[in-house]
Symmetry: C2
Subunit: 319 residues, 2 copies
DNA sequence: ATGTCATTTTGTCCTGGACAAAAGTAGAAT
DNA sequence: ATTCTACTTTTGTCCAGGACAAAATGACAT
């Protein structure tokens, strides 16, 4: 649309907004690794060519999957893309930072829906998008929607952002609308204050809510009695909440970028602080990636293991 | 609750998050004006005492109302608070940045609702808050809700943030829930694709959506046919949208922090670009503050002038 | 009131050094 | 074979203080 190469250059603030990397980080990478290597304007201020911004987006995406900058900044775009593809193709990789739910081969419905997203976002057609999500959810039912369509959509959104097809703003809009749909659907379920009662949250430092919400939706769809504390609850507050609401299960969600050490330490600390008859369930990116087995904690490798786990829990209680 | 003064110190990143000011800005203020004057830890890093953070919050609030740093940073907390009070007391001050809708004396219902907000936010009781908003809206009706309760709530939230009673995160949560309620209410109105047809948006650089949404709600409640483009639409895109949707009125919303020059220039540019039979309405912070009169543009001093203006428009069309 | 131009004010950018926090690694211990 | 501890490397953020672009103001003419 605008082939003028000069129009493509972005200043450091724009790149920081666009990629989610800090300005300081961009500058120190340049100093240390020689990339990015922006041009300069007359005043000596950095101007990032579009091509470098694309590459930065690939880097950011891989970092969010747990890779480290030092291993990535020397690679060219093709090599980076290759790693991303490898990651996407890996079966059983588990839910990623954006909650792709593991490399479950998505059904046709999910993929078709995912393909419709990007055009709708670019048109700023918030209302149409909302309607489309609602319709798809109604058609598939909450369970199928969360296990098939949502992961497919998240994958597509991630790709689109990496490719520069959509902007951060539009990605936020998508997340917003999807979360509203999920919340509404959970809220609209027939009120069956059944068992198990599950307390959901994420640990301090984990901002991603989507995985949490997906878990809540699945649990609620199975007839569990869900109480969500929202994200970023300190361990102390979780303990207090457990004392007050007496759940049988506490479920924690983690993104792929969350540090494994912090996750494990947090889980063990919580395990020690909670009554031993309260089960502790953990799922999401890091947990799945490590195929983790922690004593006293139930770890999920894929989001679609949730319904089965609920059934199993019920069996255990009945027996 | 925690009287230990050492616990109260925050590092520069926390203060930046908390106040919404940039780290660079905090440092350059210190250099230029001598305030803030943070302590230092062993490593020489800034530690801001709580008292200074409070004062920074007051400063930020006044800047958002259009004041300039140079005039504020020499003042102590009491003097800053005084200016804020003066502002709040000023009748006809118009909708502020947070959309307080002018100093309309809020009805009892509005004030009572506003008082319930802070406790609910601090408990992270998102669901209760959502329910409370929905109930209040149902009780008052959309029009009364937008003209009385929402301004009262916004004022209370602003105060609470300034006083450090709530955090940014909680303020966002409030805005989010309120916007959802308004959108749902607009959407739920009996489908009366009446007249006038109104296109709503904000100019590029204006991020505040709440005022826009309040205007849309009022217009929709009056039976107008509203089309919202969302915030930050460049003039060119507005012109294109007008050509496609053929509205009789284009409505623009501005916060108090928006530059008066940019607002006026943008409005005039738009006026020149649009067919002369399309009316141009403008309202919100800056517009109201200047008691502005611009030729060819209808300026609103207070949000509750909107219903009357619609009635008047209809009279003009009928006659 | 509105436009123009010079003068301030204000926020952001720059460099390059430093270091705290996080993550990886290795060896010992359960 | 995992878990713990101590050591090393990586990585992001902080600092100082100079510079300057962008925005706002003020003066003056229309």
């Amino acid at each position: 649309m605008n082939p003028n190469p000069f129009e493509r250059h972005q200043d450091i603030a724009a790149v920081a907004r666009d990629t989610g990397l800090g300005k300081d980080t961009l500058r120190v990478w340049e100093r240390r690794y020689g990339f990015p290597a922006p041009l300069r304007d007359e005043a000596g201020e950095r101007l990032y060519p579009n091509e470098q911004v694309m590459r930065l987006r690939l880097v950011k995406r891989l970092i969010d999957q747990g890779f480290r900058p030092g291993t990535l900044l020397a690679l060219d775009a093709a090599a980076l893309q290759q790693r991303l593809d490898a990651l996407a193709g890996k079966v059983g990789a588990g839910a990623t930072a954006t909650g792709d739910g593991g490399a479950r081969p998505a059904g046709n419905a999910g993929v078709e829906m995912a393909e419709r997203l990007v055009p709708l976002l670019r048109e700023r057609a918030a209302e149409s998008l909302r309607a489309a999500l609602a319709q798809q959810l109604a058609r598939e039912g909450l369970r199928g929607f969360v296990m098939d369509t949502v992961p497919a959509m998240n994958r597509r959104i991630g790709e689109a952002w990496t490719a520069g097809e959509i902007e951060v703003f539009e990605e936020h809009l998508y997340t917003e609308l999807l979360q509203n749909q999920l919340r509404a659907a959970i809220h609209a379920l027939p009120p069956a204050p059944g068992r198990p009662r599950v307390l959901l949250t994420t640990l301090k430092g984990e901002e991603h809510q989507l995985g949490l919400l997906m878990a809540e939706a699945l649990l609620a769809a199975e007839g569990a009695d869900c109480i969500s504390l929202g994200p970023q609850t300190p361990v102390v507050d979780i303990v207090i909440a457990v004392a007050r609401t007496a759940p049988q299960i506490v479920a924690l969600s983690f993104s792929a970028a969350y540090s494994w050490r912090k996750a494990r330490d947090g889980l063990l600390e919580l395990r020690a602080a909670l009554p031993s008859d309260v089960e502790l369930w953990a799922g999401g990116g890091v947990i799945a990636a490590r195929g983790a087995q922690i004593r006293g904690i139930v770890c999920f490798g894929r989001i679609d293991e949730v319904p089965g786990a609920v059934a199993e829990w019920r069996g255990r209680q009945a027996g």
